[in-house]
Amino acid sequence: MTLDTARIRVDFPILRRLVNGRPLVYLDNAATTQKPQCVIDALVRYYTTMNANVHRGIHTLAVEATEAYEGVREKVARFIGADGYGQVVFTRNATEALNLVARSWGEANLREGDEVVLTIMEHHSNIVPWQLVARRTGARLRYVDIRDDGTLDLDQLRQLVGTRTKVISLTHASNVLGTINPIADVAELARRQGAILVVDGAQSAPHLPIDVRSLGCDFFAFSAHKMLGPTGVGVLWARPGLLETMEPFLGGGEMISVVRPDESSWADVPHKFEAGTPNIADVIAFGAAIDYLSALGMANVRAHERELTAYALDRLASLPQVRIFGPMDPDLRGGVVAFSVEDVHPHDVATIVDQFGVAIRAGHHCAQLLARRLGVPATNRASFYLYNESREVDVLVDALKEAIEVFGRGDSRAAVR
């Protein structure tokens, strides 16, 4: 393995706990990841030594807190290859970042008859904000399908994108299929049509090296809590010049320059989009998460997860009752593996493997359009991160065998098979 997981696991106190009497096997990382001690310590340190509001104090604590908070903004920019290029806005999560784009850019730029191109594999957070703006502007939503192997149908995308297309918004990596989408190709298409390209990076920024310049997108959104950071922090990166032309998303303190009875003028970007006291403590702790990831190296994180995913695909495919969704080539996907078990409903699978300490997700994974396309109301999902090991895949597979056994118990149909 590329990463020394034995050493890494020491940094994550939660991985020492037992669940139902067994060591925790945490395979729900696409929902949220666990936190290393350095992130927890950064939170405590901030409240213990530095707590003050940012951007408005003259006193020492306020200056220190502001420097730490703004320092993370620069760190985030470097992490996604945007040092000095464009702007980083802190939001509550990736969902809020996507809502910000749909609302502030969409309402100013979309007209009746304009088209927003999405994909069938989007998380609800990259569908519903566009539905809301479409309802207000009369714009129309178009959806690109997947091919049978779970990859994006690029031919259909090329056909759909035309002169009416004003926005293409898609996920970099699917939270169900694991599929990694060819963003640079889509960017080329968007550029030719003069459409903006919005990328949901919630499942890619934690797992892949990100360089927003080479991706060629206009907006890139992600969440801190899916990449070792605390909950309550999201990031919206925007290409230079875009935020400056947009109206604020929320109004209040922090985002203004001068306030008069009937109108106000806005602070400069990015603060124009950060109304109210921001999530200072969690942003600062997110900085510790980025340091941790940078020290490991994102290329190494990706290599580790690719290896683990290949192993998991192989082991899961060895069970005849298991059906795997998404591409079988680990080069085309991230460390997210959705699957179903014949004759065992996903909730029953999740309950049974939980008894073995294994945490997986069961449901539609906030992607109902995709679930409908796959023809299944729900699936199971195992998702990996940098601290997971191949032996944990073995624990999952053994627990799945148990589920198959429990549901086959006393089943006469099973006996005659």
């Binding site: 139902n20 009497g21 073995f356 429990v406 118990r409 006393g410 089943d411």
Partner: protein, 151 residues
């Protein structure tokens, strides 16, 4: 330290698995007098229920649905247990079922083999699966009351 044995045998009793595999009274009733449906939006379980009421008594019950073993087996057993009961008796049965699952009460005698669901009480996240059909039943009976003397 001994590793504890997994505790799901209590949850997945044979009777429950048997009803999951071979649901009873599955389908629609041609002569239903009342219909109701419900879903758990978080997990996607669905149950719809047809009842034929005659003189304040449930003459027949049938269900359709999709979801986990607990939700579907519970609905299947519900249809067997409410058939032949008066509306008041069916309501009391639903109440007793809920008491067993939500309040952890010992199974009331009238529950009969529905006591198979007692183990679900230890899995709070699955209680709503077992309750789904019974919530739909309560809605169906409320609908019937609204329809007044028709049934």
């Amino acid at each position: 330290m001994a590793i504890p044995e997994p505790q799901f045998d209590e949850l997945y009793r044979d009777l429950i698995l048997e009803h999951y595999r071979r649901p009873r009274n599955r389908g629609r009733l041609a002569e239903a007098t009342v219909h109701a449906e419900g879903a758990n939006p978080v997990c996607g379980d669905e149950v719809s229920l047809d009842l034929r009421l005659e003189d304040g008594r449930i003459a027949e019950a049938a269900f359709e649905g999709q979801g986990c073993s607990i939700s579907q087996a519970s609905a299947s057993m519900l249809t067997e247990h409410v058939a032949g009961r008066t509306v008041a008796e069916a309501r009391a049965l639903a109440h007793a079922f809920e008491q067993m699952l939500v309040a952890g009460a010992a199974p009331a005698r009238e529950l009969g083999d529905l006591e198979a669901f007692q183990g679900v009480a230890r899995f709070p996240i699955r209680v709503k699966c077992a309750m789904l059909g019974w919530k739909v039943l309560e809605e169906a009976l409320a609908n019937a009351a609204d329809q007044g003397g028709e049934s």
